[in-house]
Symmetry: C2
Subunit: 501 residues, 2 copies
Amino acid sequence: MAPTEHDFLALVKQISLLGMNLALIDWDSHTNLPQDGASFRGELSGYVSGQELALRTGSEMKTFIDYFTAHPEALDEKGTQVLRLVKKDFDLNHDIPAADYAAYQQVISDAQQVWEQARVAQDFSLLQPYLEKIVAFKKQFIPYWKRGQATDYDVLLDQFEPGMTVAQLDPIMATLKAGIHQIRHTLATRGTQPRTDFMSRAVPEDVQEQVVRDTVTRLGYDFKKGNLSRSTHPFTVALDRGDARITNRYGIHDFQMSLLGGIHEAGHGLYLQNINPTYDYTPLADAPSMGMHESQSLFNEIFIGRNAAFWQGEYGRFQAATGRLFTDIDEPTFYRGFMATKPTLIRTEADPLTYPLHIVVRYELEKALFNGETTVAELPALWRQKYQEYLGITPANDTEGILQDIHWAGGDLGYFPTYLLGQLYAAQFYHAMSQELPVTDLLASGDYAPITQWRRSHIHWLGASLTPQTLIKQVTGEPLNPRYWLDWMTTTFEKAYQVTE
Amino acid sequence: MAPTEHDFLALVKQISLLGMNLALIDWDSHTNLPQDGASFRGELSGYVSGQELALRTGSEMKTFIDYFTAHPEALDEKGTQVLRLVKKDFDLNHDIPAADYAAYQQVISDAQQVWEQARVAQDFSLLQPYLEKIVAFKKQFIPYWKRGQATDYDVLLDQFEPGMTVAQLDPIMATLKAGIHQIRHTLATRGTQPRTDFMSRAVPEDVQEQVVRDTVTRLGYDFKKGNLSRSTHPFTVALDRGDARITNRYGIHDFQMSLLGGIHEAGHGLYLQNINPTYDYTPLADAPSMGMHESQSLFNEIFIGRNAAFWQGEYGRFQAATGRLFTDIDEPTFYRGFMATKPTLIRTEADPLTYPLHIVVRYELEKALFNGETTVAELPALWRQKYQEYLGITPANDTEGILQDIHWAGGDLGYFPTYLLGQLYAAQFYHAMSQELPVTDLLASGDYAPITQWRRSHIHWLGASLTPQTLIKQVTGEPLNPRYWLDWMTTTFEKAYQVTE
């Protein structure tokens, strides 16, 4: 008997349930797992991951994919979209010899532990042999993954941002480097450095958490469909659209980190809470790419959370929530302090203006590595050289340099550009929204509902039914264009730095 | 090829991992699940339960059971113990026709919802038809389950307390009824009613939680192997011995409930944290019965938490933790108030002296139902009559009467006696321990470690490797004997009520 769409979607639902299960296991591991439960948790996690991978790459799935690829007329529109995604996933995971894939998994598991040790020792050379093995495995796997991409690195980019290429990214990176240089030069030569002393005033963690809770609720995050917990690193995990959880951390002397971190995660959560229910239990109930996912968290964090109009409305609430702590600071002074920009060695501590330069460094190193222009051994020197060139600072050791991110040790090569793409997508969405809504007035008045509704209907509702390229074009009328990001940053920072002609 | 113990235990480990998974899902459902996640959670829970049941009752398990039953020499001691438990579970779940079992599952799912409605309406007649169906299903299933038990109700008792029978319980219940009547008569005629007004003083919930956390830590609950969360009803869930979580609830005007509730759950947690690691990933990593599990929570709650010596040591800490709230109450006055006994309509609100009478009522009704002496329709009248006879009070409506517990609607018939057995086991353990350790001195001095260590080595470490009957005999030198419970209650309450000759 011929396979039916109904049976195909039943298998897809099982995979989705196992994904939900893994999301819960992962969330709990970061929020509630007691120390001595770790080894048991590893067994559980491995067992459920194994079940999930077996279904995603097994013979039953292969039968469905082969049949529906040959008989596309047997699927309706939703089935067709699901097929596109599961087929891509199948191809990614299926062709590689199982023994090689297992060996690779072992290397990234070891590498992440060695990464911790290397950080303590401040010594990249400890990690180097592991990273060399990871790169060698990736180079071995790329031919299995390649589907006509122009370069090997394009293959890796495509795994996190489908359709993204070096050909698109190279000019974008060049434009950003020049544009950011220009803005920073303007601020340094014609701007007024904001007062920032009050930014480290002690705000109790419970107060910070309550501010985050209130703010993200007003920004549309629905606590009937999620919750807010504490973890070492903030993250969002979507079990399903009725349970899109966020976590946050609080630093008593760093309310800005906590506040923007919470608003950021709530952007991810908002996305997942508002996907079309038709897509439940399929891979369509997700963002179409990592970059697009980040576009919604960064829209929250930067284009709302660092928007002058937003703080005009919010600052009174913030003052009230923090008692008498900020009564001596008026709103313009507060906002300018909030927007101070300064190059940092650590990517995750960067302000939005300098952040892209951290990504440029990583992008250029990854690209050189996979397109044969450098070796793992040469990376630390290149890292230092590029940080000096682009940001004007040099790490004193590997821990605050090339060892700062776990991504490479975890095998996530080609991932970093999605953080930057998220910013660019967000800026372009913000521009398009501004053509249809009085965004500044809405932000200043605290009436965020029309903004949330716009994002929901134009972006969130669609889930992963469109590719990122199709989505950005459909929503904004043009392909990805870094100009909107540069324009917003120029205007915003020049205003915060009181740049005059 | 003949099945090997290694492969058998690998299957058992898979079942154990799925059980761990279900425990996590259940814990999270009661602590962190947002409202709109409920329907998705139901699907996940059903899927994982289905996987687990399939392994527990599938053909692979049958092959192992058949082979090792015929070739017991092929298993070592641990394998033999595991076989005993999985075979019992297999027999319980396998023989019943699948369609009947599914219909039964549907009835108990419906019945639990109807139970909620019936409670709101204060009307047992709404639940009656569902309970009749549940009883009919049980009567239909009992022949499949029966393994030589003397009465049908014995079959149900055995499912929660292996080996327990009406023949053992009838004289125990009679002894307890008479003994409790005697103690209550003594207190009423020759005792002094304690002052209790201070028992409802407002203690902030966070303070209560901190007191619970400190107290259970001193009583040996290990937060490296568990955690404490809030939920509507307190419970313990053991994912594994490295992750035995407890929850608690807090009532600002009922610190006693919160404190004893937390200590109770920590007793369950303590048990599970201290089972022999050899039993990991097998059903041996659990208590041998529900009653034995309760023996350890009730040991904590009653024989420590209501022990005069314990409060001699703890009251100063309690006073300090609650600020100036109890400075006017001295320790003897506090302890006497803590021990006030009064019949209640609600089982879960009962003090330990009257608690067994609640179980006697339920035991007598269940026994009559299954041994053909009454019908579901007659239960409410019998309930009222027995409450009046044993406790001297009559519920004004079904909600504070026969509808107070969800157990019957959930198909848990034969379960209630385990709560009472837990008390009796605990008293007998306490007596045995007192022969070997200066228990009162240790409690008064706050040096709880020897008590914890005794429980660990005599009871917890053994997991489910012995039957409850073997365990109680091995630890105390004799079979279950309600005399120890009656002796302790007599002495303790007469002292608290200042009974003189």
